[in-house]
């Protein structure tokens, strides 16, 4: 492969130019125990600053008297205050209001209950609580995970946060499943609101170190690679918790997709699988009476196994439905910021021309997915053993792969498909151009240097992003 001199493209194809937001500021007083809810589209910004009091955004306390205001875009969020505060706001959110009825008291209580469990676990040198958050779409699962994570880090913990919702990325792009130990403050300004994975330069908010797996589909319910991946991730997370003394007592917090909570006739195969693989012992059911009833019946009284605390939580009144347009914009912004960074962290990805022959791309075999799942309903052991070579099919480079994202795995092309499936990934590259006559593709990689020769996997999710590179 020829690595042409790296094309540095900072600022190219960044998010659509933000509409100039008015510089006019206004103040907003929040009484103790209330929250300021807002929705800012991707085309606008909201700048906020604390003038007095304390305030937190999904559990992450905002800096006081910060000279630089927090800039939020493409965010639907809420600033909550335990003690009352005065905010300075600038910009035009799509909607904004102050709500006095919130669920923060319950959510904070969850944190303190977990703290008790962590203390106990710490005293016995055991792994802390494994918390699973389930609930329908737009019930605030990810927000709850953020709150619990932020409170945990504030309390000096290092919980491992596991994202099993491919619809939105956590320190990676959508379609990926990640596990990350959070020891530092969340970056509320970042697309997704968690933070950034490591970059080659300094970062104002400490970077987080995620372990990333490629799933490549939009829902954990489709395809048969989800459960084996959960098994694999659980293994990695458990190993980490066992070996990492600082993180052990903190346990883990697992976020899931709303789709996993739909169930089929009261059976929730993926939830059951996650619970058994991660040895979940705290199950937080958000905003669904029925799901709570089904799950508590199933898991509250399990003789001969470790008891699971099934806890029902109300959905926050601030939860809003995020339509497909918004979700797509969110995905695109996460993909952009993977390559180009966001805000003051401008990143410089590199493009390379590579010949057709030098890249080998695998794609999840759609046909086998259907067959496999009907033959092997929910039986992971069989998935491991018997369905060799049918997980992926090879895709020859062609104009059809234009604008696709390829996950660069740590497995070799010659490895068994199971090994490729279970491999964590190094990152993503993007097919920026395909020259059919010269049989070359132009690839956008996050960094320069030779593109790894390991297996690359193409997913069907997230959808193609056009025009990432001009």
């Amino acid at each position: 492969m020829t690595a042409l001199p790296g094309l540095s493209l900072p600022g190219l194809s960044l998010a659509p130019a933000l509409a100039p937001s008015s510089t006019e500021t206004r103040t907003q007083d929040l009484p103790a125990g209330s929250e300021y809810r807002f929705e800012v589209p991707f085309t606008r910004t909201l700048r906020l600053r604390i003038l007095s009091g304390t305030a937190e955004l999904f559990g992450t306390e905002l800096a006081p008297n910060s000279k630089d205001a927090y800039t939020l875009s493409g965010t639907k969020g809420a600033v909550y205050t335990w003690h009352g505060c005065r905010l300075e706001l600038a910009g035009e959110p799509e909607s904004e209001y102050v709500a006095e009825e919130t669920q923060m008291t319950s959510y904070a209580n969850v944190h303190f209950a977990l703290e008790n469990a962590r203390e106990k676990a710490g005293a016995q040198k055991e792994i802390g609580p494994r918390v699973l958050v389930v609930g329908p779409e737009n019930a605030g699962k990810t927000s709850l995970c953020k709150i619990l994570t932020a409170y945990a880090t504030k309390s000096g913990r290092q919980p491992v946060v596991v994202n099993l919702d491919p619809r939105q990325g956590l320190l990676s792009i959508p379609g990926a499943l990640t596990a990350t130990t959070f020891a530092s403050v969340l970056d509320v300004e970042e697309a997704g609101g968690w933070g950034s994975s490591p970059i080659s330069g300094p970062s104002a908010v400490p970077v987080k170190m995620p372990l990333v797996y490629q799933y490549g589909l939009g829902s954990p319910e489709e395809g048969k690679t989800f459960r084996p991946l959960v098994t694999r991730m659980a293994l990695a997370v458990t190993s980490r918790l066992e070996e990492d003394e600082q993180a052990r007592a903190s346990g883990c917090i697992i976020d899931t997709a709303g789709a996993s909570s739909h169930g089929k006739g009261g059976v929730y195969e993926n939830i059951t699988h996650i619970i058994s693989e991660f040895s979940v012992n705290v199950l937080l059911v958000l905003g669904s009476e029925r799901l709570y009833s089904d799950l508590s019946r199933k898991f509250s009284n399990r003789p001969s196994e470790e008891p699971i605390s099934v806890i029902k939580l109300d959905k926050s009144g601030g939860c809003v439905d995020r339509d497909e347009t918004y979700m797509q914009q969110l995905r695109q912004s996460q993909i952009r910021s993977y390559f180009f960074g966001q805000g003051s962290n401008n990143l410089s990805p590199h493009t390379h021309w590579a010949s057709y022959s030098s890249i080998k791309i695998l794609k999840i075999n759609d046909a086998s997915a259907g067959v496999g799942s009907s033959f092997l309903p929910g039986d992971d052991d069989d998935v491991y053993g018997s369905t060799t070579a049918s997980i992926y099919e090879t895709v020859a480079p062609s104009p059809s792969i234009l604008n696709c994202l390829l996950a660069v795995t740590n497995a070799s092309m010659t490895d068994r498909h199971e090994a490729i499936r279970d491999s964590s990934i190094k990152g993503y590259i993007y097919v920026a151009d395909v020259d059919e006559t010269k049989e070359k593709v132009r690839l956008l990689a996050p960094l320069s240097g030779a593109i790894p020769t390991t297996a690359m996997v193409m997913g069907t999710f997230p959808e193609d992003v056009s025009g990432l590179v001009g």
């Binding site: 209580n109 080659s200 300094p202 995620p210 240097g449």
Partner: protein, 634 residues
């Protein structure tokens, strides 16, 4: 309770939450809900009682009107359910609302003693024994009020100065302090209810002596009392007290008394910060603070008091037991659930400013043996139960009955006990965290003392990112390192440097990766901090040079592999560097390339043929033995 009942009650509760003014349509709406759901009367009544007890003082009256409307328009079974706890519902509200609301509440009570207007039923709205208890509590209240006023009046006359409002009367409501006449009209004067707290108790046989120093004193200190309501000042005083106590504790970590006191104080601070208290309550807390402050030996307060009163103080006053036994405290028989936030006004000698100056000047040493050394003579006793009652209001399920506090007031034990009694410090004494992993324990119960673990317990905040640290020396060190880190990562030229995202680390590396806290003490060894397997193959890769400033060099690739160098931020160097790079004869090579090459070419003592493309080379490359990693792509 069946599920629908819970739902109805929850709906009712939601509707109640919105009731903030005396709105006829809303109240009749709520009444209709209650009427249509008499089968859920129990749940609804409970929600209503709960709401009245927990809502803000200014919203209590509308809620009481709902209660009134329901019992009058619907009647049984609501009268039964609501009547059961009417005493506590009514009195707890009465204790913290303002004067006009109290008056309205008395009006309500009056109508409850009578039959429903235009009703054929001759029985009163609530049975007589329900209303009688409330009545008698109010009468007691009133009696004490009058006596108290008479007393202060007498004093005022004795000293031949213009009459003043009774000590402790709400200054803010009396534009002119000389409306003495009104004070004797017990029924209508709203200020009647605003009496100092001790007035709810039967009068002490003799007033606490130093409560009433000569009016001259009183006068001279009065100007200073006004600002004592100031919340900021209170916070500062409390802060100071906490700091002093912390110092005490630091010098005497084994003393559990001090520890308890500190905890109690911090909890109090939490309450202060997390709740909006009416000014009179704030004033009262301040009073308490002043008492808890390590006032320097009992002398100063006593010296202010006029000589005759001094004699009435037993000389061995500091002994708390004697205070309990012989002091005026004995005189109290608090009606169990009358809770008034009304402050017992500081004896004028207690100018807060004066006290805080004492506070700051006092050295911690004399107070190491903290609790017993608090000078009892300085305590206006009534303030103590009042704080207990004040705290009680913030107890999650307001307990209607405030048990008398047997512990010596003013001591840390006492404050702690007050907090404990009222479930502000529930559960285990170790950390006060009683939350269990059950839906019931988690649902909606507010625990401000736990929230303070996320805030007040870590008072030292970084203004750049909001991270909080303890105020201990260790916390300060951590913050200093944290600020250093902020400084290090601040680089205005970052954008120009071509920063890029790194590949994610692999599974094994991730499992072995350990998060590093930038505020933690420097790791033992810099090189291995990233941990794990990388450490073994570091040597060559770890060599770095600062990114050259010479333009020709910056763009030149490694002469061996023809790949360009990647600038990287290296915290240790505090600069952008080229990792895995080595400068030899004004050319920059990948250290690993160079190693490979020089080994192959026999440089530095290796085997192999002596010469190669590079021509001249010297011994700049040292210790080839260290180079282990080979670049396979050469």
């Amino acid at each position: 309770m069946s599920l629908p009942s819970a739902e109805v009650a929850a709906d009712f509760k939601d509707a109640l939450q919105d009731l903030k003014i005396n709105s006829r349509p809303e109240i009749s709406n709520l009444t209709i809900i209650a009427k249509e759901n008499t089968e859920h009367a129990q749940g609804i009544s409970r929600e209503l009682e709960k709401h009245i007890q927990t809502t803000r003082p200014e919203w209590k009256l509308p809620a009481l009107y709902v209660l009134d409307s329901i019992v009058k328009n619907v009647g049984t079974p609501y009268t039964l359910f609501l009547g059961r706890n009417l005493y506590s519902t009514f009195m707890s509200a009465y204790a913290i609302v303002d004067a006009s609301t109290r008056k309205a509440m008395e009006g309500l009570l009056k109508t409850w003693k009578q039959p429903v207007p235009e009703s054929v039923d001759p029985r009163p709205v609530f049975s007589a024994d329900v209303t009688r208890d409330i009545e008698s509590a109010l009468i007691k209240y009133r009696t004490v009020a009058i006596q108290q006023q008479a007393l202060s009046q007498k004093q005022a006359l004795q000293h031949a100065i213009p009459p003043r409002p009774p000590v402790g009367a709400p200054w803010r409501h009396t534009p002119s302090p000389s409306q003495t006449a009104a004070r004797y009209t017990p029924t209508n004067d709203p200020r009647r209810q605003q009496l100092p707290l001790r007035d709810q108790f039967p009068p002490a046989p003799t007033p606490p002596p130093n409560h009433f120093p000569p009016p001259q004193q009183q006068r001279s200190f009065l100007p200073d009392m006004q600002p004592s309501i100031d919340l900021n000042k209170l916070n500062i005083d409390l802060d100071m007290l906490i700091n002093t106590t912390k110092m005490e504790w630091a010098s005497n970590p084994g003393d559990s008394h001090i520890q308890q006191k500190l905890k109690a104080l911090i909890d109090l601070q939490t309450i202060l910060k997390s709740q909006q208290l009416p000014p009179d309550q704030i004033r009262m807390i301040q009073q308490q603070i002043i008492q808890l402050s390590p006032a320097p030996a009992p002398t100063p307060p006593v010296s202010i008091a006029p000589p005759p009163y001094v004699t009435s103080i037993p000389p061995h006053m500091p002994g708390t037991s004697s205070w309990e036994a012989g002091g005026p405290v004995m005189g109290f028989h608090p009606p169990p659930s009358v809770r008034t936030p009304q402050p017992a006004i500081p004896p004028p000698g207690f100018d807060p400013a004066w006290l805080s100056s004492l506070l700051t000047s006092s050295t911690p040493t004399p107070f190491v043996s903290a609790p017993p050394s608090f000078p009892p003579p300085a305590l206006p006793p009534p303030a103590a139960p009042s704080l207990a009652q004040l705290l009680q209001q913030y107890a999650p399920p307001p307990t209607p009955v405030a048990p008398p506090q047997p512990t010596p007031i003013g001591s840390a034990d006492w404050l702690l006990q007050a907090l404990n009694t009222h479930k502000l410090l529930p559960g285990t004494p170790s950390n006060g965290n009683d939350v269990e992993l059950t839906t019931a324990s988690i649902a909606k119960k507010s625990r401000p003392h736990l929230i303070s673990k996320l805030y007040e317990a870590l008072p030292n905040q970084c203004v750049t990112c909001g991270r909080r640290f303890e105020s201990s020396p260790k916390g300060k060190e951590m913050k200093a390192r944290h600020m250093d880190w902020h400084f290090k990562v601040k680089d205005p030229d970052v954008a120009k440097r071509g920063v890029h995202r790194d590949w994610y680390i692999g599974e094994r590396d991730w499992i072995e990766f350990r998060e590093e806290d930038e505020a933690a003490p420097a790791p033992v060894s810099n090189g291995t901090s990233a941990g794990g397997p990388a450490a073994a193959k570091k040597e060559a890769k770890d060599q770095y040079i600062h990114v050259p400033t010479d333009a020709a060099l910056v763009h030149a690739p490694c002469p061996i592999c023809q790949e360009k160098f990647e600038p990287q931020w290296l915290v240790e160097a505090n600069d952008f560097v080229w990792m895995d790079a080595i400068k030899v004869n004004e050319k920059v090579y990948h250290a690993t390339c160079w190693e490979e090459y020089s080994r192959g070419s026999g440089l530095g003592g290796g085997r192999g043929t002596p010469d190669s493309i590079l021509g001249k080379r010297k011994a700049e490359v040292s210790s080839n033995g260290l180079y282990k990693k080979a670049r396979t792509d050469l």
